[in-house]
């Protein structure tokens, strides 16, 4: 697993409700362009890593990429052909909680066309519908 926390308070976690809209982390804050999720999902750390690799290989050494979400939620999974019960299963992977509106990736230091091409490649890797956005109006 590429991304996961260094220290946690508890090994396992309950699933919790995830059908909510993003009220924070839903705008381009660090870069100039961003990839915004249109749906909610638990995005595994390896998927985020795949997105990062896709963008950085495309951009070569140009621009700077920001990953705006972090997989800090442990997802447990029972092995195949196992009977139910005997406690909660082991942690299978770590996921980031993504809500509709969450900004997943941001890019700075490249023209808009290049940023869009890079982020479209990232969007192909994501398990959610995404859209390309710029900085929003500020007053």
């Amino acid at each position: 697993m590429a991304l996961m926390p260094k220290r946690v308070k508890y090994r396992k976690e309950q699933r919790r409700v995830r059908a909510r809209k993003a009220t924070k982390g839903n705008y381009v804050a660090f870069g100039e362009y961003g990839l915004q999720s249109m749906e909610g999902a638990w995005v595994p750390g390896r998927t985020l890593e795949a997105g990062r690799v896709a963008a950085q290989h495309f951009l070569k050494r140009e621009g700077k990429l920001f990953i705006r979400v972090f997989p800090d939620k442990p997802i447990s999974k029972k092995p195949l052909e196992t009977r139910m019960g005997t406690g909660k299963a082991d942690v299978d992977y770590w996921a980031a909680r993504v809500k509709p509106g969450t900004m997943l990736f941001e890019i700075a230091g490249v023209p808009e066309a290049l940023a869009k091409k890079a982020l479209v490649r990232v969007a192909m890797k994501m398990p959610v519908k995404c859209r390309f956005v710029g900085r929003r109006l500020s007053v």
């Binding site: 260094k6 009220t23 050494r61 140009e62 942690v91 109006l137």
Partner: protein
């Protein structure tokens, strides 16, 4: 400025709240509020198409007209103070306006435009970073600029332009933002290999350290040897279970 300021026709909102605001939006109105100058806040609605067109164009000072409303608020000068977006951050759902006089000094945020091609960008792999895209200034309402141009043509690698370095258009304008905020900076691009190396290192760590498991070990009287390794969440290992299992051995 007074004549130049765009005119918006406002209607007073009789019923306020989420549902009524949503109904207003459905019929093409934009909910807003006007406050300031020691008077009661006044909830209003504006024509969404006209108002959003002006706001997205960067207008900040407006003349508000209240047709058929017998109040002193007629033809009020207002300053756009805040906008609220929906959860996707793309649609403006509400605006805040503050009553102002043209000669009044106000605090407002102004966008920064970077002008010119930085010298440091001619070196391959260098990046232009501008974390601060707007600065807060204090000035008279009639002097509020649309944007402030900052020349970056002399900016070289390692040099930084901070908010304090930005030359304000009028001498009586005062910078309110942190003067150390980085407006423009040339940085070296991160090597791809270096980034991949950190990933490989992270993969080496099997699982995260569990803070609570460590605390249980430190308890006096708890079984020492069996649970000692329990910092890492090994498969099926329960910190509490270890302690129970070790107790009968005593």
């Amino acid at each position: 400025m007074h004549e130049k300021s765009p005119l918006l026709t406002a209607e007073k909102r009789e019923r306020i709240g989420t549902r009524y605001a949503a109904r207003d939006r459905k019929r093409g109105r934009l909910p807003a509020i006007v406050y300031g100058h020691g008077r009661e806040p006044l909830p209003i609605t504006l024509d969404a198409h006209a108002a959003l067109g002006l706001i997205t164009r960067g207008e900040k000072v407006f003349r508000l007209d209240f047709p058929g409303h017998k109040e002193a608020d007629e033809m009020q000068m207002v300053l756009l103070k805040d906008v609220q977006f929906d959860y996707m951050g793309s649609r403006i759902v509400h605006c805040d306006f503050a009553r102002v006089d043209l000669n009044e000094r106000v605090r407002t945020r102004v966008h920064i435009n970077l002008v010119g091609e930085a010298r440091g960008l001619k070196v391959a792999g260098n990046l232009l970073m501008h974390p601060v895209t707007e600065i807060e200034i204090e000035c008279r309402v009639m002097d509020i600029p649309d944007h402030i141009d900052v020349d970056i043509s002399d900016l070289d690698e390692g040099h930084v332009i901070t908010a304090g370095d930005v030359k304000l258009p009028q001498p009586d304008m005062k910078l309110v933002s942190d003067p150390h905020g980085v407006v423009a900076q040339i940085v070296q691009g991160v090597e791809l290999k270096a980034a991949e190396a950190t990933t490989v290192a992270a993969e080496g760590a099997a699982s995260p350290e569990v803070i609570t498991a460590k605390k249980e070990e430190a308890k006096p009287g708890a079984a020492p040897a069996a649970g000692a390794k329990g910092a890492a969440p090994a498969a099926g290992a329960k910190p509490g279970g270890d302690a129970k299992g070790a107790a009968p051995k005593k």
